[in-house]
């Protein structure tokens, strides 16, 4: 997922879009180093020392990783996805950006293949 997330950050820079992570690794220091090394620039909540069973993922009833929610400018959940398939995700992001009057082109990207997944 990382290359795809980095691509979104890059293509949508200057637009009203943000990635907010909820990281479910139990070792905060280790994941902090990894995030630095791999240039993961978006901010992440930390799910605590229980990792996948931490309080945020329990509250949000997360049963698989990655799980992604798209939330609009008014704070309404508009889309929900389990699994790393980037194609429907890009389509929904494009649609929501268009609603806000921003035309974006996220198509024709090699990292859309979910088997291209490198980090998760």
């Amino acid at each position: 997922m990382y290359p795809h997330e980095q691509l979104l950050v890059e293509k949508l820079s200057g637009k009203p879009f943000a990635i907010v992570g909820v990281n479910s690794d139990s070792d905060r220091e280790a994941i902090r180093q990894i995030a630095k090394q791999k240039n993961l620039t978006w901010r992440s909540f930390w799910n605590g020392p229980d990792g996948k069973f931490g309080p945020i993922s329990r509250r949000w009833n997360i049963e698989g990783w990655p799980t992604i929610f798209l939330i609009d400018a008014e704070g309404i959940i508009r889309y929900k996805q389990m699994g790393p398939d980037t194609e429907p995700l890009d389509r929904e992001i494009t649609r929501l950006m268009e609603e806000m009057g921003h035309t974006v082109d996220l198509s024709s990207d090699p990292s859309q293949d979910p088997t291209h997944d490198s980090g998760q």
């Binding site: 907010v20 990281n23 992440s44 939330i71 704070g75 389990m82």
Partner: protein
């Protein structure tokens, strides 16, 4: 086929990580005993010990396989040596068959349950799986410890036979704990089926998914997905203050805390009522990776991609 289809790579890794770890510490003394030689030991052992030794033998084999020498570079002498060091991964079906034989000779023994659980977890389909389910149904359906076995049945995609068993136990068991765990397992199994069917409707995944399950199972899944399943009222029945809410679902092991059924049901109900498309996202306020607190609502005015991720 070791696992039924998993809806994401991340989840696949999660499940395999959970299922590959030993659920109890290795019993080094037993291993040492075995290592002293292959002379047959003629003594009568309790069933549970015989079963535990088969499971331990599998773990030993698996550990040896994990620690096998890495392939040498394919040149000169190393090429000739390579064939000698290669070993095969243990086949859980072989060990499951041995366990089934021992269990069949000692029907009804309480010590069988742990081995049945092992089979259901390690070979979640096929003849040994079906025999294990049948043994559960015939010999343990009225017992209380059957509750401990049920959660493994819904870790992946549940088999129709296990869904039937859970439904039966949820309705008819005389033990509150068994009914509580069976109700939760049945709900979780049903949700897994719904997720699976969503994937079946995605042409990109259909062929890949179909190869994992038999036709009759597929039909069962489609039927379950379309039947009227009142998830909300079933979850409400399991609320923390009910007679069911106090029990745990699964046991604490492998760094995975046991989950209280009441709390689990509350979270699932919350998800059903609030974490849906069209509903306001609940705020999150927590520390980031550097220990600085921030909150989700600071991002109001932007499209937010809330990404539950992990580097594993």
């Amino acid at each position: 086929m070791n696992r039924l289809p998993i809806y994401s790579l991340g989840c696949l890794l999660l499940l395999s990580a959970l299922s590959c770890q030993p659920s109890s510490p290795p019993e080094s003394t037993k291993a040492q005993e075995r290592d002293r030689g292959n002379a047959p030991v003629v003594k009568v052992q309790p069933t549970s010990q015989q079963l535990a030794e088969v499971i331990q033998a599998y773990r030993d084999h698996q550990r040896q396989f994990d620690q096998r020498p890495k392939k040498a570079p394919v040149t000169g002498q190393a090429k000739d040596e390579r064939g000698k060091t290669e070993m095969l991964a243990p086949d859980p079906e072989v060990y499951a068959s041995r366990l089934i034989e021992i269990i069949q000779d000692n029907r009804g023994d309480r010590g069988n349950l742990a081995a049945i659980q092992w089979i259901l977890k390690e070979v979640p389909s096929g003849p040994n799986f079906r025999t294990a389910i049948e043994l559960l149904r015939m010999d343990y359906i009225e017992t209380e410890p059957i509750a401990d076995v049920l959660p493994v049945l819904v870790e992946g995609y549940p088999d129709p036979a296990s869904m039937q068993l859970m439904e039966q136990l949820a309705e008819n068991s005389l033990h509150n704990r068994v009914r509580a765990v069976a109700k939760m397992a049945h709900i979780k199994g049903h949700q897994a089926i719904l997720r699976f069917v969503v994937f079946l409707d995605n042409p990109k995944w259909t062929e890949r998914m179909k190869s994992f399950v038999e036709k009759s199972t597929l039909e069962f899944y489609r039927k379950s997905a379309t039947q009227n399943f009142d998830l909300e009222s079933k979850l409400q029945e399991l609320n923390p203050s009910s007679i069911y809410g106090e029990y745990d679902f699964g046991v604490k092991n492998q760094g995975r805390p046991a989950q209280n059924i009441g709390q689990l049901a509350t979270n699932m109900l919350f998800s059903l009522q609030h974490l849906q498309v069209g509903k306001p996202a609940p705020n999150i306020q927590a520390e980031d990776l550097d220990g600085l607190t921030f909150s989700l609502k600071e991002y109001r005015g932007k499209i937010v991609m809330l990404d539950f991720w992990g580097d594993w």
